[in-house]
Amino acid sequence: MTFGETFTAATDRAVLFPYMMCGLPVAAATLDLFVAMADAGADGFEVGIPYADPLMDGPVIQEAGMKALAAGMTLAKGLETTAAVASATGLPCAVMTYVNPVLAMGITEFSVRVGEAGAGAVIIADLPVDESAPFVAALEGAGVGLVQFAAPTTTDARLDQVVAKANPFVYGIAEMGVTGERDGSTSRAAELSRRVRSRSEVPLVLGVGISGPESAKEAAGLADGVIVGTALVRRVLEAPTIGAACEAVAELVTDLAVAVRE
């Protein structure tokens, strides 16, 4: 399924996009985690590629990234994993990384490989809409969309640009701050949702700070989709075995899948 088909099919509910980082718990078992999450009710995925200096990520995803890099994960290998996930699950995948590994591979080469991997979208955490034109152009050529971000601080003028360029969805930053599990309120997400919706029909997916079924349910009421990352990554880092990691993520995704349907 494509992202577009996924949003269209879920007419009366928000979709659930779990995040997982390539290389966890070990590179050979990352696919198992994604398959377990697909079986537990995920609608699509954010496939994380580790970066050594992840400015948008809190301590848990930082630690996961260092572990994955130390074990030899790279952008090229992560795209191979993405291809395997897309093929095994049939679900839409968004490749998530930072700008420098993409520049090192080359924007065009990266775009071609993402397209070949069967990923429908790319998310680059430190690439604001202002700097995105060359990336959008190259990715379009490969039939891949570039997700744009909207934050509670985003001005109206910036938001107009973000919704105009976002493809296949807007990543709404639900809470101020880097990725992590928090018990914050959703008042700012509600305001952000209203501002995006008043401008555009482009799907809005909320992420950052959404850690469990309760916050996922609230976010689902405000948006077309929900991303959960840190809570899943933490469970993988804490699991003693590969089997236990698969069980732990499946358990949380099952609960989250129920929550976004409530």
Partner: protein
């Protein structure tokens, strides 16, 4: 050979710079550019800054003819004495200007990163002066090698937060400060310590540090120097010194941290041995592997222990406006010793790199007039040197 007056709308110095930052920060960066523009054009802001630089910081700092060192080196050496500025380094030029800006923008809280601690102390000082809440992020490795500056910041009422991620040095401190800012940007101003980071920081910090070069030109009077030499970590003292000279007849030389030697891979020489990429929000020369992953820098000097460099230096390098070289840890320590014993001035490890380069090149520089930016004093490094030499 184009000297950029101010970066273009996308924040570029030629091909370098830009604004590769999370969207959460982008509105604040746009606002900061407007606020700085307004302040810089406001005679009241400029007058307050000038009076603080004179009466509080102690500017102009002297341009001192180092006769004994000149004799040893076989050339004429003039030292721009930023070590005599309040708090002991050039960093205060920037922090006073930016703290005034924070007050003007109505932001009650300030954050900063620090490597050697000089920027942290200068930020803590400006915040104490203006009654701003201040938190400084410092790598835990740097906290142990610059313990004196940690104490100073705490005395000044600043919270010093250890950073344990990565190698626990300057890169990690910048990243930690940026992550804090992503959460707190609505009430907090980030006083970045060098000509690095996303636009408009490299431009703002250069404008606030160019006082070093502007004063030097005035103090030189009829003297026509052949070379201006300064150390380059992120590159704020060097850009502040170079910028007013750029495009003229004076050769500009930036000296980076060679660490254990370039061939060892353990160094901080981004311009000499790095490649273009994006680090901390700007496209610039940086230390990275073939996969685009940032590499850890190494330098005995915490202030130069950084895998990137200001984007304007990257443009200076590519456009031939300045040339860049490196010296090793050992050469820097020897130069620190030389200046201490010959002139009675204990320089910081950072500008000791610039002197080490002059020492190494002294045969080629014989008889020339060299201006060296003595960016800071070495008190902070005394414990580290004593330990290393077993004194």
């Amino acid at each position: 050979m184009t000297v950029v007056d101010r970066p273009d709308a996308s924040g570029r110095f030629g091909e370098f710079g830009g604004r590769f930052a999370p969207e959460t920060l982008m509105p604040a960066l746009e606002h900061l550019e407007i606020a700085f523009d307004e302040a810089w054009d406001d005679p009241a802001y400029r007058a307050e800054l000038s009076s603080l630089l004179r009466d509080y910081v102690g500017r102009p700092t002297p341009l001192y003819e180092a006769s004994r060192l000149s004799e040893v080196l076989g050339l004429r050496l003039l030292l721009k004495r930023e070590d005599l500025a309040h708090t002991g380094a050039h960093k205060i030029n920037n922090t006073v200007g930016q703290a005034l800006l924070a007050r003007r923008m109505g932001k009650p809280r300030v954050i900063a990163e620090t490597g050697a601690g000089q920027h942290g102390v200068a930020t803590a000082t400006a915040c104490a002066l203006f009654g701003l809440e201040c938190e400084v992020f410092m790598g835990e490795v740097d906290m142990s090698r610059q313990a004196l500056n940690v104490e100073r910041m705490q005395m000044l009422g600043t919270k010093v937060t250890p950073v344990t991620s990565g190698a626990g040095t300057l890169k990690d401190a910048v990243s930690a400060a940026l992550r804090d800012w992503v959460a707190t940007v609505e009430t907090t101003h980030y006083i970045i310590g060098s000509v690095v980071g996303p636009h408009p920081f490299p431009w703002i910090v250069r404008q606030l540090q160019r006082v070093i070069g502007d004063e030097t030109i005035e103090q030189l009077g009829d003297i026509e120097p052949d070379l201006v030499v300064a150390c380059v970590g992120g590159g704020s003292n060097s850009m502040g010194m170079f910028y007013p000279f750029a495009g003229g007849d004076v050769e500009l030389v930036g000296v980076e941290a060679g660490g254990y030697g370039l061939e060892s891979g353990k160094h901080g020489a981004s311009l000499v041995a790095g490649t273009p990429g994006v680090l901390h929000g700007a496209r610039t020369y940086m230390l990275q592997d073939a996969e685009g992953q940032v590499l850890e820098a190494h330098s005995i000097s915490a202030g130069l222990d950084y895998p990137g460099v200001g984007p304007e230096h990257a443009q200076f390098k590519d456009d031939g406006l300045a040339r860049y070289d490196s010296v090793t840890d050992d050469e820097a320590v020897a130069a620190m010793d030389l200046m201490s014993r010959t002139e009675g001035i204990i320089p910081a490890l950072e500008p000791s790199h610039a002197l080490a380069w002059v020492w190494r090149e002294r045969a080629a520089l014989a008889g020339k007039t060299v201006v060296l930016c003595l960016s800071g004093r070495g008190d902070k490094d005394v414990d580290q040197i004593a330990e290393a030499s077993g004194r």
